[in-house]
Symmetry: D2
Subunit: 382 residues, 4 copies
Amino acid sequence: MQDLLQFYLVTRNQTEALCKPLKTEDYTPQSAEFASPPKWHLAHTTWFFEEMILKSYVENYQVFDDSYSFLFNSYYNSIGERIERKNRGLITRPSIEKVYAYREYIDKHMMELLKGTVSADLKKLTILGINHEQQHQELLITDLKYTFSCNPIYPKYSETNYISTKKQTSDWLEVPEGIYNIGHAGNGFCFDNELGRHRVFLEPYKISKTLVTNGDFIEFINDKGYQQAKYWLDDAWYWLQQNQVKSPLYWKLVNGVWHQYTLSGLQPVNPDAILTHVSYYEAAAYAFWAGYRLPTEFEWEVASKELDWGTVWEWTNSAYLPYPNFKIAKGAVGEYNGKFMVNLMVLRGASSATAKNHSRFTYRNFFSPNTQWQFSGIRLAK
Amino acid sequence: MQDLLQFYLVTRNQTEALCKPLKTEDYTPQSAEFASPPKWHLAHTTWFFEEMILKSYVENYQVFDDSYSFLFNSYYNSIGERIERKNRGLITRPSIEKVYAYREYIDKHMMELLKGTVSADLKKLTILGINHEQQHQELLITDLKYTFSCNPIYPKYSETNYISTKKQTSDWLEVPEGIYNIGHAGNGFCFDNELGRHRVFLEPYKISKTLVTNGDFIEFINDKGYQQAKYWLDDAWYWLQQNQVKSPLYWKLVNGVWHQYTLSGLQPVNPDAILTHVSYYEAAAYAFWAGYRLPTEFEWEVASKELDWGTVWEWTNSAYLPYPNFKIAKGAVGEYNGKFMVNLMVLRGASSATAKNHSRFTYRNFFSPNTQWQFSGIRLAK
Amino acid sequence: MQDLLQFYLVTRNQTEALCKPLKTEDYTPQSAEFASPPKWHLAHTTWFFEEMILKSYVENYQVFDDSYSFLFNSYYNSIGERIERKNRGLITRPSIEKVYAYREYIDKHMMELLKGTVSADLKKLTILGINHEQQHQELLITDLKYTFSCNPIYPKYSETNYISTKKQTSDWLEVPEGIYNIGHAGNGFCFDNELGRHRVFLEPYKISKTLVTNGDFIEFINDKGYQQAKYWLDDAWYWLQQNQVKSPLYWKLVNGVWHQYTLSGLQPVNPDAILTHVSYYEAAAYAFWAGYRLPTEFEWEVASKELDWGTVWEWTNSAYLPYPNFKIAKGAVGEYNGKFMVNLMVLRGASSATAKNHSRFTYRNFFSPNTQWQFSGIRLAK
Amino acid sequence: MQDLLQFYLVTRNQTEALCKPLKTEDYTPQSAEFASPPKWHLAHTTWFFEEMILKSYVENYQVFDDSYSFLFNSYYNSIGERIERKNRGLITRPSIEKVYAYREYIDKHMMELLKGTVSADLKKLTILGINHEQQHQELLITDLKYTFSCNPIYPKYSETNYISTKKQTSDWLEVPEGIYNIGHAGNGFCFDNELGRHRVFLEPYKISKTLVTNGDFIEFINDKGYQQAKYWLDDAWYWLQQNQVKSPLYWKLVNGVWHQYTLSGLQPVNPDAILTHVSYYEAAAYAFWAGYRLPTEFEWEVASKELDWGTVWEWTNSAYLPYPNFKIAKGAVGEYNGKFMVNLMVLRGASSATAKNHSRFTYRNFFSPNTQWQFSGIRLAK
């Protein structure tokens, strides 16, 4: 399985490449319950291979360290006790050196395993593990950005600031009514939540070919969008008041000019750049103010081939719910996606922080409607 | 408009009839942020007619009391300031006598108004006000039950306990795939959220002709359903742990036997009676444990003509979201339903506490998935 | 024991007299965890006689209602379970009529008992019960004021507003150093916390003969006293920020003029009247701003004979701690005062709401330093 | 000023010596709002010298880094904005290397300054800065212990576990009544809160010559001390229930045997060792259970010459309040101690983590009564 092995190694190396700019101090702290430390991402993705694959597929497999199952399990209740999510930043030991040794150890065993005969099951789990690690590559970036943003000296992570300034020409795509197929088809990898493939009927609709820009959103702010209840869902208004939200995340006024913290440091907001770091609440309020609405995830998927997407995750007006005939896998792997199917909204597309080879037009990302720390933006529909 | 006037008067009398068993002390206190006092329901429904109708349709209309707009507005931001929701139980004055005088005053003016020429707009608003009051009749009962349940002496409200013991014979209804029409049709009254009428495609499904009983649910409890994370959504498990939920609301073990507080007092749980007072979280966990799922609201609506419903609200697996072409009305009335369309789940049907003439198979009730205090139960699908 | 009986009856009648202006609706609701409803005060003081006296001293005594011990016990852990403090306002039943019947029943039994031979123990407990009821008379007033103040229509309770406008002439009392006796002496009644009588050494000090007025305090406000951290204790500053405190309790600016809610309704603040409804935090900040300090409880007690006190409780700079040789009584009565001796500050004197015959210069009142809802004011020392 | 310079350098080196066993990862995270990271202690103590001394005493002094005033100010409101206390653990940059460079830079300037003519004021501030750093040496140890204890693998910091096993022989010291002098005397250094020296009268008392041991306290646990409300102050009982406290901090049962996390790792509890890591609440409950009480801070100070103290801080029954004639210093230094004088209890003595040359029998340590993470124990009185 030369290809699988290579896919594995490329992905594993990429995770470590993302950590190159970090200092040792950056690996451990946790800035919010939702934002895990780099060390944790490095170890947790590794633990996934050990727990789900090596323990079962390697005879007499010697666990690297017994305590890691407790320390680096994320949410798999069926595997047993785990450290509280909010305490991930207190694990100063093992040191980062030790965690890199853990990665090396697991990689060595995975390489041996993948050089031999690879059963269909093993292949499937390995691909799942790789995709899982790709997901954490994006989280590593977004979580790091959040932590750095809490530091008043605004550290710089890289030269590229992850903000797209792609040129866009405003236009609408019209889609006629009809029965459409939704969900993943074919033999390629997909997550369980992209199945079962099924039919939906769509009434005719229009969807914007462009994404909302910073300049567009500044108009909303200037029109006192954040001060008027009438644009906001009831929960959104409460959230906004409780948290004193007055702009997208990372924005601040410096001498009357909007700036934003980026992974290249604090920079003036570029009005032509694509808006990002807004919550569903802000996306819905903006759409209402503008006289439009957000597309459903089905409208998005059907139109996706004609759209230019991939720079920001796009909030849809669909709640995260199972497709017809959605199946939950047996065992711990079954906890992957299904148990989150309530209280969350679906985002479609991908972002500038998404791993390469990790985008699909059937991909269903999902977060709580108050989430701002992902690279999330707005596309309108009507 | 004799019919309209009669509809108005019957509804208004019915609200007061529901209060007959109350003592003066029962009218004022509020037991939870979600559970308003009877006095508040009596006054708020009245205020709705004054604010939305009399102020506009009666020349030189004299407001009954200026402070009532502040005291008895519920959530209409566009109308101005209002008392905080959690403080509704502190309004010891006006006295209940005064609130009944308020009702009389409004009724007198509404009667005069409805005896004259009734424009289409006025008719529409009056019917909305009546339906609004009917909704509050159910809330009055469910809120009162919650307040009484906080009193260790378990007061009795009425002879009937609102728990259905209707005989049921287990059976499944099969529905073939196809395009179906969803939403309200015709000229009768409906709420804004039942529109626009539109088409959905349904994959083939089966839906139970019966509702889950207390006996069924006791099996789930006895199988340690509340103790095993694998049956529960992630948010549900957190909710259950935080609140130490171990049974449906109002249930308690007395010498090893399940009892429940009912509006007739504390009574043993009848295993043949239809289960009620469960949250969406419990409904979903039960369905998963039983090897089934909950129906979507669309599946429910399509099947509804063949189902026996109306004793408990039925949780569906649909999030509360706008239908295609959903329109928000102009003005304060526009705040009626639309602004709640996030984070809630849809319930279909009606309950033993629902007002007569207030049920429709297109009716969309909606509550947070942790809600237990409504008369809410479970129907399975697969 | 004619005197004791009369003392008992006068006190019991006085409690009911205080309730004369109330409507039935006013008896039940609870506006804060610290503010109990009138019904609760009426019943709890009655329960005290039943629980501590009648159950032990009357043979075959028939409890009025078994559930009352649960409903109307305040904090006596040794007596068993009790309703959660924050839920006292949900006890709509028993009705207030029933609670008055309870009082009558207990009074009848107490009268019989006190007409017979009264042992020293019984006398002691009866006097304790009477004093306990007198304490609740003051709480009844202060709690009611708090509840009424939550009602935007500001109900009026009585013609007298409980705010003292006594004329004062500024002057200082000098007290020389020396050993002084502190604590209750003689055979009259006192609470356990006024004992043991003991000696303290006081360095020489001066104490003001007058109390701080509203006018004095407005100077502090106008000097931006609430906006400058330097005047405030660290905990005080945090409290002030969290609760957005900007004035004494019940004060509000109406068109630029300070008004206060009083038991006679909303009234302009009289600058010559004695300041009340300030917390220890505000008292300490004011004293610091003014260049003085608060007296200790020992300084207060020693000086008290030369002072004019009794219109407001006076915050001292003493924490509420046991005197040397303080003894905790056996049984439930032992929970009376001792278990609160941490985190609280002592107030000395009495207020316009204190029951007659319930003041002593050795009396130690005590509340949390953030307490505003008592009639509490400021006397300076240096 | 050779002595002062040497005192300065010894202290500064000692802080760094305490950090020798740390890995880079250990320097940054914060495990609780009260427990600051080592990096913060290293930088904050350094900032104190820069802010309070170098800025004023060195002409044209060049600040090391402008942002440090914001990052490493603790609570001096008068100096300006500062990072929120709970976010100290998110300061991954500056790196620890940079913080050591900061220390070197400040030390270089302080050395130059102290080699020249040293005014009385400069000397006073330098000695304050040294004592301040000594205080943080103890906090560095106690905070680190708390952070390490949150890590399920229980890291080891040093060979010595900071738990005293000194032999003790039970005995009581009798102290006669009399007027005693309290507070610091002489020209040596003391904190502002140890002044003004004043007289107190003490009633006769007895104070134990020994400290409570682990074995003593296990008796209290075994007698169900943590399960019976009667031993506890009311606030204490609430605290215990809310936090499910069942033993001193760091204790856990392993196979029925009490173990404790120490700075040498998890170890069995030695019954002969001196008890530590109990709160005031536990100290008071233990004393009550044992039939004794805690001494006041005055009783402690008077007896101290005859006592063997210094292994654990000893809770007293005195609230932390100003002495007569307590003076608050002008400027930022005035915020040192005075503003904490409410809601805290005094501890006397010193602990095994206290810096050498930092103990005095007049020293007043103070913490909230629920504090367990300091090395705090129990001495009885009667």
